[in-house]
């Protein structure tokens, strides 16, 4: 019997099943949910970055028309603490409550919740809550937070040090002793604000002992689990629904204070409750990303052979640890720094620090963009130092294609890879060979032209549960799927993933359709409702959905296929080995005219009167898939820019990328993920930065000060791919959600620095705004005068 179906829909640009409702304004996002007798929450947030809370006076707020109640930290202790799902050795954790009780530790820390009949009344009343604060010394800079005498955020810890995380391999001292060339650079991987277009929102109702919560989240099952445990409700009485979710990028990969608070208020008030953040509120209260300072050193021979990499990192964790925060600058950063290269010695140490800033957690790429930026900027500096072409330097150090499976010096085993073809193709797309002519031509026009590349390896498909456990992740990394075929042959797929733009309704339908011989239009994919899906779903993050969740769907569909074949063979009086399932029909090989329709098979499964001996009635399958390893997509991106020395503005002339995510289920969706990812990475390189003043006030506090890239800021992208199947899963798929973001930031910065290299400029901190570039050009000019 053929175990695996031919691929009819996998690999095709199947139109998205998600689109019809979204293009007609019929998608339901959380803030679109309005219930009878609903009340609204507005949060009183600390204007101080660090202050003791002496007294809270809510009397005036309570008298405001429409106000239902005002709760403070002491009233809300029943919500329990916010969870942290990852621990690293020696972690200095803290107790993080939804409403601060003793101190505010960042500007935006929630102090009280005002509940009123209307959104407007709740906001008006929140302004009337008076908090008597005793301002305390503020620490914003993570390096300074670790120095003696720094203000301490959490007195019980006696330190701002969150962790010290070493990853070592090989003999680093020997590498530097033997080095013929070394480079050293300091990288500020600046803090970013995720800016999912949909602000966060939570709606909760409590009826007949049952709590229903709608939340704009990437992980509804985790929210359900924590609400159940924290609020003392049996898990079967807590339903969490992630309806349409307007982007996440890691910022909704949390169990947030507002989710606990709104659920708690719905439970205690007996009325439906809604909270939706303002964008400016979101800038303070939704997690930030990145924020590392890294000292990177490379040791090499003059022929370009890299001998060792040493890196010392300080990670700004913000005021509290959020759900996955301890794992980002450690596990997802340190292990992947060696990237695409065979490096014999590695020495990395990451220290995390509490500061009086918004908590930092996963933002698209989460640790891997920082790692890639460090090694890819380092490689360019090394190329410059030894006078070697940056592409050749990379090629020389690539893990060769015959070395896989390859265990890196950091201890990760890459199952597969073939890096040189992707580099070659990207260089060809970018006309790398013809670049110097273009540089000269631009120079004649008074412009500086540069080209930059980055070759990356991403670690994704998070994650094998045993690896999770060994690394300190407090939960398995499997994913679940359930397929229910109704008697009439209607097919529903329930997935534990929780898409918010990634198109799982379409891709999962393609996967299931191929296995059970129907079309994607015959299949409905449902997600984001804990009452429908299997017992547990892990969710959508870390480019894991396809390589884990998609495989769970594939495996469930294979079970359905097996049973369809068995029933078909029985009804057709044939051997299962001779039965074909395709085009919505089941027939004996070579005799398609005597077919049973798929619906006849499903009906037979439920009529149950004529099934093979011993077969259970019904046609349903549930699977949990735990991957044996991570997956490792890779590729090379090339950016070409032109800098105007008069203004410092950067024009992106051309952007070419060749990526390898293994088998593509829907190339249209793959390209879309890359376009968006590349743009976010360009945002970090050129435009975006969260800026705090020394008092801990977020100066880039709205979209007016924080520049999310617009259509006029980015070019069209030229994309191509190679296909190296992973052996880790039966479809050979890897993941593409974060690759663009990981690759594009160093490619952009390398291009700009290359453009300015004739001026002797070797470094500008991100973002490379016109002002900074102009300043660097002027300074270089003065130095040369």
């Amino acid at each position: 019997m053929s175990a695996t179906a031919p691929t009819t829909y996998i690999g095709t640009r199947t139109p998205r099943k998600e689109d019809p409702k979204l293009i007609q304004g019929r998608g339901t996002f959380t803030d679109d949910v309005t219930l009878p007798a609903m009340v609204y929450v507005s949060l009183v947030r600390s204007p101080h970055a660090h202050a003791r809370i002496r007294r809270i006076d809510a009397a005036a707020a309570r008298k405001e028309p429409g106000v239902v109640t005002v709760v403070t930290g002491k009233d809300a202790e029943a919500t329990g603490v916010l969870p942290v799902f990852i621990s690293v050795p020696g972690l200095n954790g803290t107790k993080h409550m939804p409403l601060a009780t003793d101190k505010a530790r960042y500007a935006g820390d929630a102090i009280a919740a005002v509940v009123a009949d209307t959104r407007q009344a709740a906001k008006r009343a929140a302004d009337l809550v008076t908090v008597d604060y005793e301002p305390l010394p503020v620490i914003v800079d993570a390096t300074k937070a670790l120095e003696p005498g720094a203000p301490i955020l959490h007195e019980d810890l006696g330190t701002n040090l969150v962790f010290t995380y070493p990853v070592k391999g090989g003999d680093i001292d020997k590498a530097f002793r033997d080095a013929e060339a070394t480079v050293k650079l300091r990288i500020v991987n600046q803090r970013l604000i995720p800016n999912a277009m949909e602000p966060r929102s939570v709606v909760a109702k409590f009826e007949a002992g049952e709590l229903t919560v709608w939340s704009s989240t990437q992980i509804p099952h985790f929210v359900q689990l924590i609400l159940s445990v924290n609020l003392g409700l049996s898990q079967n009485k807590v339903r969490v629904i992630a309806p349409e979710v307007g982007g996440g990028f890691g910022s909704k990969l949390q169990v947030y204070a507002e989710e606990l608070l709104v659920a708690h208020l719905a439970k205690t008030l007996g009325r439906p409750v809604k909270w939706t953040e303002d964008r400016r509120e979101g800038y303070l209260a939704t997690i930030h990303g990145r924020d590392l300072v890294e000292d990177v050193e490379l040791a090499a021979k003059r022929d370009g052979t890299v001998l060792g990499v040493r890196i010392r990192t300080v990670a700004n964790m913000g005021a509290y640890l959020q759900a996955f925060a301890p794992g980002i600058p450690t596990i997802l950063h340190a292990f992947i720094i060696p990237g695409a290269y065979r490096i014999p010695a590695f020495d990395c140490e990451v220290r995390g620090a509490y500061t009086n800033t918004t908590p930092v957690d996963a933002y698209r790429g989460a640790g891997r963009p920082e790692a890639t930026f460090a090694i890819e900027r380092g490689m360019d500096r090394l190329a410059d130092e030894i006078g070697m072409d940056p592409a050749e330097l990379r090629r020389k150090n690539f893990v060769p294609s015959d070395a896989f499976p390859f265990t890196t010096i950091s201890g990760i085993t890459y199952d597969s890879g073939d890096y040189a073809p992707a580099l070659d193709r990207a260089l060809e797309m970018a006309d790398y060979k013809g670049f110097e002519k273009r540089r000269a031509e631009a120079k004649a026009r008074g412009k500086y032209r540069g080209i930059g590349l980055s070759s990356y390896v991403e670690i994704c498909g998070l994650a094998p549960s045993k690896a999770n456990s060994a690394l300190g992740v407090g939960w398995g990394g499997y994913e679940s799927a359930r397929i229910r075929v109704h008697p009439t042959g209607a097919v529903q797929v329930f997935t534990g993933t929780s898409p918010h733009g990634q198109g799982h309704e379409t891709s999962w339908a393609q996967i299931a359709a191929d296995a059970i011989g129907v079309t994607p239009n015959d299949i409905e994919v449902r997600h984001g409702d804990t009452f429908e899906s299997p017992g547990m779903g892990v969710g959508t993050f870390g480019s894991r959905s396809l390589a884990v969740g998609g495989i769970a769907v594939h495996n469930a569909a294979q079970k359905i296929r097996e049973k369809v074949i068995q029933i078909g063979a029985h009804l057709l009086e044939a051997s299962p080995a001779d039965v074909v399932v395709e085009g919505g029909k089941v027939f004996v090989k070579g005799v398609p005219e005597k077919a049973k329709a798929f619906g006849e098979i499903s009906m037979a499964a439920y009529l149950a009167s004529n099934l093979p001996e011993g077969m259970e009635p019904g046609l349903e399958a549930t699977t949990y898939y735990d991957p044996p390893n991570f997956t490792f997509p890779f590729g090379t991106h090339v950016a070409e820019v032109e800098v105007d020395p008069e203004t410092g503005t950067i024009e992106i002339i051309r952007y070419s990328a060749c990526d390898d995510c293994g088998r593509q289920i829907n190339p249209m969706i793959v390209e879309g993920q890359l376009h968006g990812g590349i743009t976010q990475g360009i945002g970090q390189a050129l435009y975006e930065t969260a800026v705090y003043d020394n008092n801990g006030q977020l100066l880039s506090g709205s979209m007016m000060e924080y520049h999310v890239p617009t259509a006029a800021d980015v070019p069209a992208f030229a994309l191509d791919h190679t296909v190296t199947l992973t052996k880790t899963n039966p479809l050979g798929v890897k993941g593409i959600g974060e690759a663009g973001t990981i690759a594009s930031t160093p490619a952009m910065v390398n291009a700009v620095i290359d453009a300015l290299s004739p001026l002797g400029i070797t470094h500008i901190d991100m973002p490379l705004t016109a002002e900074k570039v102009w300043g660097a050009i002027r300074k270089a000019g003065e130095a040369r005068r």
Binding site: P15, R16, E18, D19, P20, L22, I23, Q24, G25, R26, G27, T28, F29, D31, D32, T34, N195, A196, M197, E198, P199, E244, V245, G246, G247, F249, D278, R279, R280, H500, G501, Q502, G503, I653, R654, Y655, M668, I669, E671, G672, L674, H675, G676, G677, I678, T679, Q680, S702, M703, M704, V708, T710, A711, A712, D713, V714, P715, A716, F717, A718
Partner: protein
């Protein structure tokens, strides 16, 4: 309270409203047209864009009373008699949406552009939509979708391709 008459998606409404009510609140809360979204509070993101008398306007910066006597079209009004507007078809065909939150505002802005400029260059499209932020798509396919819709709306059979922006 103020009394206004406003036509939304070809239906006339007489409403008594608070003078401070924003047009986007009127649409979302009073008329339950939740396809128009609120993505920021500083008029940067464009998720709330609607047509007022044919012009694309950010409805979070318009008081509902200012729409008195006006004709408003939201995403729910783009399709007519069950047939999708070419911009809706093009957004889906070109994969110009992922999470779909910014999509209504972007389509409305594109409709405004195409009513004034039936054959926009890619640079004109990018300029026209730069007040609408999208965090998912990187705009690449949105530009393609607007170009495709323009072609269809002009009645052309083959897409007009401007020289690729990436080549010089």
């Amino acid at each position: 309270m103020a009394k206004i008459t406003v036509t939304v998606n070809r239906a006339e409404h007489e409403l008594e409203i608070e003078p401070s009510l924003l047009l986007v609140e009127l649409l979302r809360d009073n008329l339950r047209l939740t396809g128009t979204h609120v993505g920021c509070d500083t008029s940067q993101c464009g998720a709330c864009t609607v047509l007022i008398d044919g012009s694309a306007v950010k409805s979070c910066t318009v008081l509902a009373v200012q729409a008195d006597g006006a004709e408003v079209v939201t995403v729910e009004g783009l399709a007519k008699d069950g047939e999708l507007h070419p911009i809706q078809r093009a957004f889906s065909a070109e994969h110009a949406l992922q999470c779909g939150f910014c999509t209504p505002g972007l389509m409305i802005t594109a409709v405004d552009l195409l009513s004034r400029t039936p054959a926009p260059t890619d640079a004109e499209i990018r300029h026209a939509i730069k007040g609408n932020l999208c965090r998912c798509t990187g705009y690449h396919n949105i530009v393609n979708a607007v170009r495709t819709a323009a072609t269809e709306m002009r009645g052309a059979t083959t897409p007009m391709r401007t020289p690729a922006e990436v080549k010089r």
